[in-house]
Symmetry: D2
Subunit: 349 residues, 4 copies
C-alpha cells in the first residue's frame, strides 16, 4: 500500500482548510461588508466564542499564533517584566523574538518541567526575583501551552495549581492554545474548566492547526487586560480590513462542533500511530500520547529511509522524531506509514 | 430604483473575494503542503510577480498593507531616520504608529504637495537636515503612494523626478501600492515603468483592495534591502504557516490579468460616478478622478440623507466625501446612488 | 573691549558646573556609599525637591533631558497614543526620536500656538480624534515646555487653562522643564503654582542648563504614573550606579536657593542683551524676552561677522538668531557682544 | 581594630571619584565649551584612547555600562538576532532588559562555561542554529566579559580562540569591559592584545568601577559598526550636553596611568583578602582570584554576623558571597574585615 498522496506527518499546518470552514468563508463572501470587524460575521463569531466558553470575554481575531501570543503578552507585560514558560514553549523557541519585540524586551524564564509540563514549584522558583531588585526583569506572566509542545495535556487541576502559584507571585496567566481543541477533546471537559475557571486570564485560541486557513483568536477572560487591544492589533499590522474573511472561517470551525471533531480525529490518528509503533516493538515513544503528536525514537537511518520514501516529519533534538496528525490525516496514511516504518527498521533491512 | 443590496462606496475593502481568487484558493486547498512558503503555489506566485515586473526581485507575502508598509520601511530605516511622505499618506494617518513601532522611532516628514502628490521640491526641502545634525532624525526614505490617497496618479516621469530628488539626498524610495493596479491601468504602461525603472526600491503591492481576501506582497527591486526580511516577517507575526492560502490567492489575481480587469472596472465605475455627479451639476469634485475614488463636496445634509438611505461612505476632512469603487461595484449601484444623490440635494428637497 | 574669554551665547549648556554644585559634589565624594540611589545624598535630594514643591511626589534622577522627557512620556503613553506639543518643542525637534523609541511609536501632534505657547483651543482641536477610531493614534498626553523654546513663559492661569483642556480630553500633562527655574523666577510664584496646582502630572526638572554638570529630575506629582519607573530607568540605561554623583549636585543647586539665583542671573543678562539690542535700534526681537533667551533678527552678514569675531550662537529658522544666557554670563560679556554687534551692522561697515 | 569608616566590599561602585579624576574634571570646569562633544577635552580623551589601544578606533562616551553594552549590541544585532554570552553575564542578568529593548528583541543564548569563562566549544554549539531556520533568532554576536563576573580573566590566546569560533559562525565580538583595567593589569599585556588583536570588534570600556564618577566609553575597533552611533546615542538619551564633564574625567583616569594604578590596587586588595581567608583556613574560595573580586563560601550565619557588624557585601546564588575591592580599598580595611570574619566563624563563637 502506498501513502495517500500528499499526506504527511510534518505538521498539522501542512493540512489545508477543512470543508466546513471553506464553506463558511464562501457563504460570507457576498456583497459588501463593513471593514475592520464591524460586520455581522465577526459579531457572530465573537458571540459563539463567548457561548462556548460560557464567559463574557473580549475576543479579537489576529492573523497567526505568533502574533496572538506576542500581542497578548504585550498586554500583560512591559519590557522590564519576565515571562515564565516551559523551555520548549513556542514563545521561547519558535517565534524569532516576537514576544520580546512586542513587549519591548520582556525575558523568558524557563524550566524543563516534566513531560513538557511546568509544575507549580517551577513557577514559584522562577518567580522568586524580589520586587525591589530592579536589576533583573520583574516576573509578571506565566505562559502555559495547552496541549504542550510534547503532546501532553494539562488537567484542570494541574492548571489550577499552576495559576494559583502564579497568583501567589502576582503573575497573570497566558495560555498558548495553538492546539487547545486537541487538549479539550482529550480531557472531555467544558472549555471553561481549562481556561477561566482554572485561572487563565487570556487564551490564544488556535485555529490554523485545526482546519482554518489562517488566524487565531485572542480571548481575554480578564477583560481589564483587553484595554486598547484593538489599537494594539492595528499598530502591529494585525487588524484585517476584510475581517469577515477571518471571522467567517471561525464560524465554520466552531459551529456544529467541527473544531471538536477535527481535533478528535487528529488525536485518534495519533493513537493509531502510537499503537502501531508499539506493536512494531523496537521504538521508544518519548511522551504520553495525549493529543495529536507522537514523538518516537527512530534510528536516524530509519528516519532517512522514510524521508527517501517521501514522508515528511521533523526531528526535535532531545525528543526524537515528531509525527504530527492533522484534521485530515487518513487512517490509510497511518497504515502506509507504519508499513514503511517497519520495512525501514535496521533489523528488517 | 433601489441600491443593489449590500453594495456601497465606503471602501474598496468592503468588497469580498473575487471569483477567480476564490477559485484559485479552492484549487490549492488539496492535500498537504509544506508550510511557511516552501510550497509550489508560493513559488509560482513569486515567479509570476517577477514575470509581471520583468525583474529579478525578492517577493514576500504578508497579511495586510499596514504590515507591508511598516516592515518594508523598517528594512530601509532605523529609529533615528525620517521618512518623507505626503501629509495624507496612509503611513502617516491611518496605521496607528505601525511604521514608528517597526522602525523603532522613525519620524514622518510631511508636505501637502499638490492634489495629493509630492513634488521633487518638497523632497529636497524636507530632506535638508544636514547629516551632522544628530539632534534630529536623518532623512532616509521617500515614501510615495500610487495611486495617492486623493485618487490621483503619478506619471512615470513624475516618479522618476521624485526618486531622482530622493537619490540626490541619499534616500531610498518606498512605494505604498495599496491601489497600484488602479494606477497601472490608468497609465496603461508596463509595471516596471512605475516601479524599478522609475527608481523605486521597494513596492508594497496591494491585493486586498483589488479582489484578494487579504494580503499584500512586498517586492524588493533593490534586493540588498531584502536581507533577513523573512526573519523580519517571522518576528513581526507576519509569516503565514499555511502560506499557500495567501499565495494561491495571488495566483488567482495575477494570472489571466484579473488584477488589471478588476482595477479597470473599479476605475470605470469611479468615472461613471464622477460623470453623473458632474451632470447633476451643483457639486464640486475635489481632485482629478484618475483611479477608483471620487472626492465630492456634498452638502453635509445631503450626506446625512444618503446615509439614512443606507449608503456607506466616509468624510475626509478638507477633502469632502469619498466615494470608493471596488472590483464588484455594479453600474446599477452607481446609477441608484446618483438618483438618490439627486433627490437628497437641498434644492430638490 | 574684548569678549570675556570663552564666554558665548551658544547655549546655556556651554557653561560649566557652578561653584556651589561643584562643592556639593566634592563634599559627597568621601568613603563608600551604597549604589543605585540607596544613599543619604539621594534621599536628601529627593526630600529637598518634595519640600520645594510642597508635595508628596516621586523623584528620580536621570542623566539628561532627552531621557527625562522620553521616559516620563513612556510612563504616560503607549505606542498607539499621541502627544500634543508645540511645533518647536524639544521632544518634536531635538531628541532624534527618543520619545518615539521609548514610547514604542507614539506620535507628536503639533501646533504653532502663539509666541511659542500652545493655547487651550490648540489642545482641544488636536485631541479631537475620537476614541473609537483605532486607525490613528489615540491622544493621551499634553506636553508643555516651561519656559518655551521661544523664551516665553506660561503664567499659572495659562497653564491651568491648558491642563483643564487636557483633562477634558482625557490627557495627562507632562512638563518639559529644562529651563523651569528661569520661568519660576520670572513669575516669582511658588513652584507648586506652575506644576501640580496647575494640573501638571509629571515634571522633567532641568538641571544641566542651570549649573549642574549633568542630570535632570523626573518629578511625578501624580504618583500612580511613577509605578515601576525605577525599572524603566534601569532598562533604559538611565540608572546611575554612583547615584550620589548626580544627587549631590542637586543638593548643591537646590540648597540655599542657588537654582533661583542662577536662573535670575541668566534672565537678567538676557534683559541686558535685549535692552542693548533695542538701544542699537535696527534689529527686531522676535518674542517677549521672559527668560534667558533673546531671538533677534540680525542680518545674516552681521551674524557671519560676529561669528568671525569668535561669538557662538545659533540660527533658528523662522525665529532669527538665538542668544542664550547662562548662570555665568558676565555683564562685561554682554557689553562686549553689543559693541561688536553694533560694529557689525551693515550701516556701520 | 575597627573597619575604616565607610569602606565596604559591596561593590567597586560604592567607591567615590578618585582624586586625579576629580582634579581633571575641576580643571576642565572653566569658561564655556561647545556642547555635545565638539570640545577639546572630548577630542583629547578620544585621542588618548586611540593612543592607548594603538588603534584608529571610533570612541563614544555614554553615561553607564548598561547603556554602553545595550547600544553597542544594538549596532551589531537586530531584534531577530541572538547574542551568545556566559550565563552570569551582566547583559543577561543585571540589565533589566536593556539589550533586548535597544536591539528590539535579540535573545541571549547562554552557557555556564568554566569558572565564568565561555569556551570556543560553547560558542560553536550555541551558534549552530542554521541560517535558513527563521523560526529562531539568528546568532549574530558573541559577548565576552573581561574580567568575568566570577573575577576570572581571559588570556589573549583564550580570547583569540573564542573570536575565531565566533568568526567561523559569522558572529561579531563584543566585550563588556566594565572591569577591563583589572584584567589588563593582571595580564600585564598591551591593551590591543586583549581587544582588536584578539579579534574584538567593539569594547565597552568601563570607568565607573575604576575611579570615574560615571561613564563608560564605547570603542569600535571595527569602525564600520560605528555608523550613526552618535545618532543612536542621541536617540537613547545617552548624549551628554556638557560632554566635557564626562570626557575630562576620562582624561584624569587615563593620563599618567591612573587607570592601571587604580586597578592594580584593587586587585592587590583582593589578593590580600584571599590570602587572609585562606589563612583562616575553613572557607572555600570559589574561583581563581584574578582580578578584584573574591567569592567565598562563608557560612550564612557568618555572613549575617558580618552584616551586623556593618560590613556590606552580597550573596551570589551558587557562587557564595562576593567581596569586591575598589581603587580606594585600604589594607587596614581588609585586615579589619579578616579579623571580624575570623571572630564570626562558627567554631569561634
Amino acid at each position: 500500500m502506498k501513502p495517500t498522496p500528499q499526506q504527511h506527518f510534518g505538521s498539522d499546518n501542512y493540512a489545508g482548510i477543512c470543508p466546513e470552514v471553506f464553506s463558511a468563508m464562501s457563504d460570507a463572501n457576498h456583497g459588501h461588508a463593513v471593514s475592520y470587524g464591524d460586520d455581522e460575521h465577526t459579531q457572530l463569531a465573537c458571540d459563539k466564542i463567548r457561548e462556548i466558553f460560557d464567559a463574557d470575554c473580549e475576543v479579537f481575531f489576529v492573523f497567526n499564533g505568533t502574533a496572538a501570543n506576542a500581542l497578548a503578552l504585550s498586554s500583560l507585560c512591559q519590557g522590564f517584566h519576565s515571562i515564565i514558560c516551559q523551555q520548549q514553549a513556542h514563545i521561547q523557541v519558535d517565534e524569532c523574538g516576537a514576544p520580546e519585540l512586542f513587549t519591548h524586551g520582556a525575558k523568558m524564564l524557563t524550566a524543563p518541567g516534566v513531560e513538557g509540563k511546568l509544575r507549580p514549584e517551577d513557577v514559584l522558583r522562577l518567580a522568586s526575583n524580589p520586587e525591589d531588585n530592579f536589576h533583573s526583569h520583574l516576573p509578571r506572566a506565566l505562559s502555559l501551552t495547552q496541549n504542550t509542545e510534547c503532546g501532553t495535556v494539562y488537567s484542570p487541576s494541574e492548571l489550577s495549581a499552576l495559576t494559583a502559584a502564579a497568583k501567589q507571585k502576582g503573575l497573570y496567566t497566558h495560555m498558548d492554545g495553538a492546539r487547545f481543541a486537541n487538549a479539550l477533546v482529550t480531557l472531555n471537559c467544558h472549555p471553561a474548566d481549562i481556561t477561566w475557571r482554572a485561572g487563565v486570564d487570556v487564551l490564544c485560541l488556535g485555529g490554523s492547526k485545526n482546519g482554518l486557513g489562517l488566524g487565531e483568536a485572542v480571548v481575554f477572560f480578564n477583560k481589564s487586560l483587553a484595554k486598547d487591544f484593538d489599537r494594539r492589533c492595528k499598530q502591529a499590522g494585525q487588524m484585517a480590513s476584510k475581517m469577515r474573511v477571518l471571522s467567517s472561517q471561525w464560524l465554520g470551525l466552531l459551529n456544529n462542533d467541527v473544531w471538536r471533531r477535527n481535533a478528535s480525529h487528529a488525536n485518534d490518528m495519533a493513537q493509531q500511530l502510537a499503537t502501531g509503533i508499539k506493536a512494531i516493538g523496537k521504538i521508544n515513544i518519548n511522551y504520553p500520547v495525549q493529543a495529536n503528536a507522537v514523538f518516537a525514537n527512530f534510528p536516524d537511518a530509519t528516519a532517512q529511509a522514510l524521508h527517501q520514501r517521501g514522508w515528511h516529519f521533523y526531528e526535535f533534538p532531545g525528543a526524537g522524531y515528531r509525527l504530527m496528525c492533522a484534521w485530515d490525516t487518513a487512517p490509510e496514511t497511518v497504515e502506509a506509514f507504519l508499513a514503511d516504518l517497519n520495512e525501514c527498521l535496521p533489523s528488517n533491512e
